[in-house]
Amino acid sequence: MNAEGGLRRKGLKGLLLAGVTASFAGWRVAFAQRMNSGRLISLEDMVQPVVKGAKLLKQDVQIVAPVLADNGSLVPLQINVQSPMTDQDHVTHVYLLSQRNPVTQVAVFHFGPWNGRAEVNTRIRLAGTQDVVALARFSNGEFRFNQMEIIVTESACVDAS
């Protein structure tokens, strides 16, 4: 069993606000498929490989998912991003990130003005109670995000809480 109870309880402290410009020169491009060991990783570790120091604000992104997930193998999750979706101003990518899964980058969705709405609905696997992050990249190179804690009720026995 891991002893990460304290870490999970604190959630994703250290939220990144506008203007953070930390750089991560060492990150591999193949971050998408990097496996972590089931530990809870920080928000910074989740988003910086994608954001790479660009402007990041916690707004305009909505995650719709159950607070209590009955089945960690099938969690319905919807991401809405506020955007006019015009040629000049639209969402280009939405990254769905997991705090604890072996693969942090659950999925990447590519958008363009032709979508009309930057909204996607899917079903995901969550390896235990954790935070998920929806990270949107805009056509001007800026990022917006939101996060949500999802309690996977069935893995209560093992989740350090």
Binding site: M1, K10, N71, G72, S155, C157
Partner: protein
């Protein structure tokens, strides 16, 4: 002694005034607890101020403390409120404990945090926020008194339910201050009491549920009674994962009292006006099951499967210190042994039971569950209603033991309720159903190889486990590096100072479903480890205790292992003379954040009857909340543990479990119970679990004693398979 009646869940939830003003108070406690003023639906009128989600104080000084987990006899419904009461400086005699509910938790953005009673975690995971809740309320009461007296709060003290201003000899009881206190701002930081000043924590206070239990008032899940309630008996396919092919209920459908017979695919249910009728009718419903390819599985095939795992080329490595294989090849003496522990059903005294009532799109559930939020989520999903429409009413569990955290039986009950809309249905499993549709403690084959140097010191240890993975099969969790932590518990994290250690794991799943049996991996692995350590001690010609102490230096890593081993062996008088024919065995292990040890004294007569003369068993749990509760946990563990050690096994024949009831899955008898001497040796400074680690060192200590008595090693359980019985 005091007003400790349980408020029934119905009283909790009667729709009173819908005044719910939610004020989130930031920065007062660790994330996960909101000390908001969420007011749950209760029958209490407007004069019971709420200081925070955990504490309400009545004008007559009664302090209502909420408990947010399950009570299944482990006593946390008393210990957790004791922690709040300590910081609150409450008069324990005036404390009344009520349940918080899963639906209240959901509505209040999880103000109560986690609600699952699993992993021996209730106290150690909630103590910080519970203490803060008590301390925060205390400070608000002091502030209210200080304001009323127009004196500095620093000149006031709180004790035994009263705030006192010594200088002016004034005091007010909490009941009189509560209204004003509830209006105060909660302080942003609070000072917690120094453990040496505790007056409630550390006391053996009687459990709050005892009076109700004694007079038969305590409501267990099985006691649920509702107007117009129907009863359901169920049967799933005797071969795991089988499905109904055809069902013929013609014999029973029109019988008196039988309301409906349901084919649910994975199980069959008979709904009747009483449970006996339902159960009897169920026996005459003829079902043709589709068992797929699983109808030939046997214990022998499973053992062959585990043995093949031992030889498989790809293994998951859980620990790799030094170069074990090389060291073993050079060791002066090598000891090898295989150990085996069987599948075990939980056999909770109260079988699986769940009552569900679907009225339109509103669902109410009374479930004997260790995981009420899981019940809420699964019930909503099964009924197809929003989670906000589900109420999970808390009930006491007649034993949980890890079987009642998964929601398989909840799902069944809600499926039945959905088929009987508008009617409450209580679904109860028979004992046979419970034994044969368990989530079994995994059977496990363990291989040990130890290398001693010329002076008898262990220089290399290789442990290989071939066993199912609970995490991968029940929870579908990914295994970091392919290792299931439960399968290798106490191997990959053993405390002994051995320079070369290799622990590897072969995941060997079968069609037998596995789950969390009390103490999980620590219910079986310490048996292997501590018995093998004895085998090494024997090979080295050393006393088992001295042999262990040699490998447990007094450093940060193993000082607590050393400490509890010394405390328990001292209490047992290890090394002192024993009467002829009496032998001792010892074991030490850690688990669930605590350290435990055990010494057993046995004699074995010519008829292979084992007489247990003494069980000396102890724990270092850091802090101790309720010593008498720890004693009770150990006593209970010995009952549970000896039952498993002597007779516990579930064998498989033609894909199904052979055992069915207590005639062939024997429990201990009253007159067989030995005296249990409990050693509580807390070193302070941390909060360790108690419910599960209490069982961990018993099997190896007993097996080591029996091995010493018989002059031959016991390497598998249960003991009945060695022709041994327990002498009353």
């Amino acid at each position: 002694m005091n007003t400790t009646q349980q408020t029934t869940s119905q009283e909790n939830d009667k729709a009173g005034m819908d005044r719910r003003n939610f004020l989130k108070v930031s920065g007062t406690a660790s994330a996960g607890l909101s000390l908001g003023f969420f007011v749950p639906e209760r029958a209490q009128a407007a004069d019971t101020p709420q200081l925070n989600v955990w504490i309400e104080i009545e004008p007559n000084d009664t302090i209502v403390i909420r408990y947010a987990r399950a009570e299944m006899g482990q006593g946390s419904m008393t210990s957790a409120p004791m922690i709040i009461a300590e910081e609150l400086e409450a008069d324990w005699k005036k404390v009344r404990v009520v349940y918080a509910t899963a639906h209240e938790n959901l509505r209040s953005k999880r103000a109560y945090g986690d609600m699952a009673s699993v992993g021996s975690r209730t106290i150690r995971n909630s103590q910080e926020y519970l203490r803060k809740a008590g301390a925060t309320a205390r400070e608000m009461l002091i502030a209210a008194a200080a304001q009323q007296w127009n004196v500095p709060a620093s000149e006031c003290t709180a004790s035994l339910g009263k705030v006192t201003h010594a200088a002016s000899k004034r005091s007010l009881s909490y009941g009189k201050l509560a209204s004003a206190a509830a209006k105060m701002d909660a302080p942003k930081t609070v000072q917690l009491k120094d453990p040496k000043n505790w007056t409630i924590i550390g006391k053996s206070l009687p459990r709050v549920d005892i009076p109700d239990i004694v007079v038969g008032n305590r409501k267990y899940g099985i006691d649920t009674q509702l107007p117009g309630m129907l009863h359901a008996a169920v049967a799933a396919c005797p071969v795991f994962n089988g499905k109904v092919k055809t069902m013929d209920a013609s014999k029973v459908e029109n019988r008196r009292g039988i309301v409906k017979v349901l084919n649910m695919g994975e199980f069959v249910a008979v709904v009747a006006d009483n449970w006996w009728r339902a159960k009897e009718a169920l026996r005459e419903v003829s079902v043709d099951w589709d068992v797929g390819e699983h109808g030939t599985l046997s214990s022998a095939a499973i053992m062959a499967h585990f043995k093949a795992g031992m030889e498989q080329p790809e293994l998951a490595v859980a620990r790799n210190d030094g170069n074990t294989v090389e060291a073993l090849s050079k060791s002066a003496k090598v000891v090898e042994a295989d150990y085996f522990t069987p599948y075990l059903a939980h056999a909770t005294m109260e079988p699986m039971v769940c009552t569900a009532w679907l009225q339109g799109d509103q669902l109410e559930v009374w479930s004997s569950t260790q995981n009420p939020e899981g019940t809420l989520a699964v019930s909503a999903a099964t009924a197809g209603v929003p989670q906000a429409n589900v109420k999970v009413h808390p009930v006491q569990l007649g034993g949980g033991l890890g079987r009642k955290s998964p929601q398989d039986f909840t799902r069944q009950a809600v499926m039945i309720a959905k088929a009987m809309p508008g009617k409450p249905v209580k679904m109860l499993w028979s004992r046979e159903e419970e034994i044969q549709h368990g989530l079994y403690r995994p059977a496990s084959l363990m291989r040990f190889k130890g290398g001693l140097n010329a002076s008898g010191k262990v220089e290399a240890l290789h442990i290989r486990v071939s066993a199912p993975s609970i995490l991968a099969t029940l929870l579908k969790l990914p295994l970091p590096k392919g290792v299931d932590g439960q399968a290798v518990a106490c191997f990959n994290d053993h405390p002994y100072d051995i320079p070369n250690t290799l622990v590897d794991y072969a995941q060997r799943n079968t069609n037998v479903p596995v789950g969390f049996w009390r103490t999980v991996g620590h219910s079986q692995n310490p048996f292997g480890r501590e018995c093998f350590i004895d085998e090494l001690a024997l090979a080295a010609g050393k006393d088992p205790v001295a042999f262990r102490l040699d490998m447990l230096p007094n450093n940060e890593k193993s000082k607590r292992d050393r400490g509890i081993l010394e405390a328990v062996t001292k209490a047992a008088g290890w090394g002192t003379a024993l009467p002829a024919g009496v032998f001792r065995g010892v074991a030490e292990t850690e688990g669930y954040g605590s350290w435990t040890a055990c010494v057993c004294e046995v004699s074995v007569n010519a008829r292979n009857e084992v007489k247990i003369h003494r069980v000396v068993i102890g724990i270092d749990s850091g802090y101790v909340v309720n010593p008498d509760n720890i004693v009770a946990q150990f006593q209970g563990s010995v009952v549970h543990g000896l039952t498993a050690i002597f007779w516990g096994e579930n064998t498989i024949k033609e894909g199904r479990v052979e055992q069915s009831n207590f005639n062939d899955y024997r429990m201990m008898r009253l007159n067989e119970m030995p005296k249990v001497e409990v050693v509580i040796a807390p070193t302070g400074g941390f909060w360790g679990g108690v419910g599960e680690p209490a069982q961990a060192p018993l099997a190896p200590a007993l097996a080591n004693a029996i091995s010493a008595a018989m002059g031959k090693r016991i390497r598998s359980l249960p003991l009945k398979n060695h022709g041994l019985t327990l002498k009353a």
